[in-house]
Assembly symmetry: D2
Amino acid sequence: MKSVIVDHSLAEAGTRRIDWARTNMPIVVGLADEFRQSRPFENLRIGICLHVEAKTGVWIEALVAGGAEVFITGSPGSTQDDTAAALADMDNVHVFARSDETFDDHLLHCEYVLQSSPDLIADNGADLHHLIYSRDSYRHLGEALIGATEETTTGTTRLRESIKCRDFPTLSINDTLTKRIVENRFGVGSSVIDGLMRATNVMLHGKNVVVIGYGYCGAGVAQRLRGMGAHVTVAERDPLTLLEAHLEGFRTSALEECVSAAQIVITVTGYDDILKREHFEMMRTGVIVANAGHFASEIDVPALEDLSVSKREIRDEITEYSLPGERKLFLVSEGNLVNLSAGDGNPIEIMDLGLALQSLSLRYLARDAESLQNGVQPVPRDVERFVAERAVAHWIK
Amino acid sequence: MKSVIVDHSLAEAGTRRIDWARTNMPIVVGLADEFRQSRPFENLRIGICLHVEAKTGVWIEALVAGGAEVFITGSPGSTQDDTAAALADMDNVHVFARSDETFDDHLLHCEYVLQSSPDLIADNGADLHHLIYSRDSYRHLGEALIGATEETTTGTTRLRESIKCRDFPTLSINDTLTKRIVENRFGVGSSVIDGLMRATNVMLHGKNVVVIGYGYCGAGVAQRLRGMGAHVTVAERDPLTLLEAHLEGFRTSALEECVSAAQIVITVTGYDDILKREHFEMMRTGVIVANAGHFASEIDVPALEDLSVSKREIRDEITEYSLPGERKLFLVSEGNLVNLSAGDGNPIEIMDLGLALQSLSLRYLARDAESLQNGVQPVPRDVERFVAERAVAHWIK
Amino acid sequence: MKSVIVDHSLAEAGTRRIDWARTNMPIVVGLADEFRQSRPFENLRIGICLHVEAKTGVWIEALVAGGAEVFITGSPGSTQDDTAAALADMDNVHVFARSDETFDDHLLHCEYVLQSSPDLIADNGADLHHLIYSRDSYRHLGEALIGATEETTTGTTRLRESIKCRDFPTLSINDTLTKRIVENRFGVGSSVIDGLMRATNVMLHGKNVVVIGYGYCGAGVAQRLRGMGAHVTVAERDPLTLLEAHLEGFRTSALEECVSAAQIVITVTGYDDILKREHFEMMRTGVIVANAGHFASEIDVPALEDLSVSKREIRDEITEYSLPGERKLFLVSEGNLVNLSAGDGNPIEIMDLGLALQSLSLRYLARDAESLQNGVQPVPRDVERFVAERAVAHWIK
Amino acid sequence: MKSVIVDHSLAEAGTRRIDWARTNMPIVVGLADEFRQSRPFENLRIGICLHVEAKTGVWIEALVAGGAEVFITGSPGSTQDDTAAALADMDNVHVFARSDETFDDHLLHCEYVLQSSPDLIADNGADLHHLIYSRDSYRHLGEALIGATEETTTGTTRLRESIKCRDFPTLSINDTLTKRIVENRFGVGSSVIDGLMRATNVMLHGKNVVVIGYGYCGAGVAQRLRGMGAHVTVAERDPLTLLEAHLEGFRTSALEECVSAAQIVITVTGYDDILKREHFEMMRTGVIVANAGHFASEIDVPALEDLSVSKREIRDEITEYSLPGERKLFLVSEGNLVNLSAGDGNPIEIMDLGLALQSLSLRYLARDAESLQNGVQPVPRDVERFVAERAVAHWIK
């Protein structure tokens, strides 16, 4: 099947992007070298729904090196057209992704992937799984599939709770300790600093920053902010977690008490509407508000809009809200994830580790799927340990 | 029953010790105030085997305030005679503990405790449990007891594996996340610095220190050493834990590769014979070696003795071993826990939290033992959460 | 005189930029409020050569609030046309600056500034001073001028060594301890992190980073890198400074010994050709090389070009050099200052402090120039202390 | 002349002490090796007034190795009788020091030193200089002496302001940048942690600690406390220094505002009566107060005594003051330097560096005194640089 992309002439720019990513993805590159010998995906078709961007490109190379024929669609909004063009030029790769696609286009592209009759699926947000279980025309794939992976926590929840996937094993990539520690504590910790500095150009040294939530992500964010000289106060509901933050040397406080003195407020909780009208009313003028949690909904933006006298874009990625009492509040990236929207997302190496987990999970399925039960489940511990060992081998020198 | 102690005239000195401890134990003091009102131990006898030292004294006060009559023996080697004298002067407290007691004396003192027909037991290393299950004369206590607590991991293991305690519920204090995080990461982290500085008077700034093991304790030790300006290298076998240390900013290395350049080596692994002859042979002259793990056996001292040409005490808590090739190795506290032997052990506040867990576990048993099954089990989550909330209330101001 | 700018219709975008800067420049804004009352520049013309960008705009507002008529030209290459348009719309402000100007245009614009017969001059790189002392037509200004300021170290050196400015006092802004500590240690420290993350999207956690130079800037860079989880090695020639880095907890090493293991190398020395052919030959493949020192010349780029087999732009701000032996070296921003070229330069607050020094130096000249001798000299200590007090008042809350 | 010491039989214990010190004093040991060859003190008598303790012993060995005959007295209160006995056993060493000596004994011992007709003097607090300039019988020594060193800042001040020493050059050891950075920032920083933990056994993690003064010593103390997990607030009067603390990530505050919330307060200012009655009145119950500044007078202890209802020793090195309103205040070491009184003073390596400065200053005098003017002056820069280079050579491995 022919690729569906914006412009084939962008391939060279895409190749350069992929080259830069490859330079910093030693784990997946190392796996590609092994796959080239062992050919774990010989004669297998892999259907993929994942962001069509440079790091994904390096991973596709590894799958193809392992003998796979790959059919990939992207995730709405994240497609890099040059990367898509570069991928479309590769042998055994079929790309259905355009940066300008509508949601209907996206569904159509997902169907193209499924029409390839894949043996393995790598899904993102359970979009492919959903089609299989909701459209009669793809229902037969459930039986035919060797297995699948799911990249996101959202997708895993959807598979468990609504789709109730049951005909083949699906390995949940995000449920690994490796990913939680490495990606959440270290990846998110540093990419939030990147996004925040880029969006604002303000100094972090000496700033009163309130970090709401001290889970893996929140702890990482708090530690990096401290590493940049900020004065961090942690707001957290769980008493033991709060104690941990306190003993780690962070000021801690109930949100209601610290939010009025904050110069920067960052939500990292995983819950909705953590910052509400009552908080906006307390904040001092000039405060910068950003979200680094799972969803855009941690900040109640509608309530903020409602409270505001007026708003305007004062700088790329920064909306100025004029509040009653001559106060200004600056919202970063409209409440979307500050590290993704205002920065480049997690560092390349973090994606290297995540895509290595993907690679080895797919290999595990290709080799040993019959040893697994059907339905959603964690990545086998052996796979996780193997990836950690690879990261050790490549990162520690 | 009359107390068995060294010298009643030491009571005043003991009272001062207890006063200092009390000053820094707000959680247990707060519980004592509540117990004085609610009297959870009214008409109950509590038999205790625990270190007879000042912090224990503050805890005893809380139990007595709650209506208990207390019978306590110590742990061989840790009894403070002045604290014992101060406790013996209190109403409703019976003490059987001497700093000069032999192991046979210790067993006899444990029997005195059991002869009081306790309703509740707070045990340390399972010594009281052992007597109940090994001596016919105390066997009847198993049925009579409301329940018990066990302070140590060693004791919990013994109860599970050899004693197979089964007639009443025993709550395992050390199995709580609260204790693991607070005591291991923060308590041990700081007390090791204390012990090391006290034993050696050497500068930590700029020193090459190898920390072996990066569990809760090891991570705490590594972080505090870094906080004191040391150049820390972590040696750790588990790849994911190693990765965590690496990303936290620590150099990491296989033990064999880093031990020869170390100026200080600290074991914190929980395993035996981590430092062996082969390592001693590689170490450079002047190296300081200490253990902060669970047991004195992490360093293979017999192998060191065997390898040495001669040894001498060169400073309190430091043995100088002369090794072949004109090299000197300095062992701290004969390989015993450096924070306990060369320092004062964990900070008072850490014990406050641990003894608050004891207090509330005993109260839980007194009130709700029938809701528990028999045998060893974790402290109920409610108790743990309650203690964390108390620590939050008292520590965070 | 009419302004010379690119496009008046850009004023609105420029106003937004200035608004964002103003939000984060409380010191200069506070001074503007005072100047509005005290009118220190009543009836004075101030001729300025400085980057025509948003932060400068906020400063111009303060001068005008103080009664000044301002004539400003930019520095070649840094003019923001929208900011220029916004400034040109203000009363009492005359702007001669275009982003597309040649060096000859720049000189002409400097002449326009001098043709306004300024009473005070704020210079950058001594361009205005140079014209006064080299062109007969402006020579009379030397006598007429009350005094001047010079923003840069380069300009100060030029004034001292070649121009030998002598007819009026010139205050050297960059020679203050306040600026050295605040701008160099903290400003540069954090903006280098910003530039590096933005240019590369690589992870700093666990990376082997060599920082060459441990002066105010280098120490700041090293500390922030450590704060981001990097493994920093410092290379420094002065033994006492080296000792300081070592005791601060940084690995230190001779450049020749550490450069071959580095994953990232950053020069921050103030000297030329610190990284030379011999170093490029030792570096491992994949190394990222950047400069954060005073001049682009710290890295010997011609030698690198000479050594390379080929080169290409692999990503914005990153040049890939293919070296003999299949090695790749990645140079950031062609060796220009990584914080300025790949990032937004120092945080806004840092510029606030620097422009407050400018404002108060000009006020000092307007009020008390007769108390000063002629020629280049430090900013009076009272001015410096006053600025520090203002920073304390605005930053510490 | 025969030594005057307490007990010659203590020599073996003293030898062990010196052995431990020597192990950690590579710089002075290295100089001893060189002196053994070059014999810079051949036929010279060196009169010394300095603490007679183990580290001084190692230094004496170096002087004797260089050919000197040494006559040493101690400083009242700091003499280790076992070290004195070990030194008295050495060839060419004469010791006049007893731990039980009165101030009159001390003066007599100083006279014994002068009666040896020394060629060089190493003084402490200017006691030897004072005798030379105040007693006619020693006045002739002024002419005969080649030169002298003075260890302390107090002594240097006394020499400059009251004694007005003028007949020979005296090098002021404490006036070096090396000593200021290494000893004050790093030495004092870590020894204060040692003293504080030892005196109190309290947890530093999460504690509200107010550090008063942010000079070299104060900054060191604040950084180490943070490294141990404390929540540090800095109180400092100079605005630029305050700004530095703020940007370094420390909370800062006026003393009056932060002292009431403090759990621990440490003075490190160099000024008298920093903590006064008004502060004691504000402090919360349980507060621990310590001094790490130059003199015992930073805390106004008489005012504290005056305010108190009663006091008692509650623990070694801790006095409990009962204040009005049922409040308790705990003063460490009666307001004396917490690192010296409650701990072992600065780490051995710090003394190694200081005594290396002494050794090389004396060698400089022996070789090049004629190149120096008479009177108090800084250590020559060459000497300082040489010591820094030695520290680099021995410490950085």
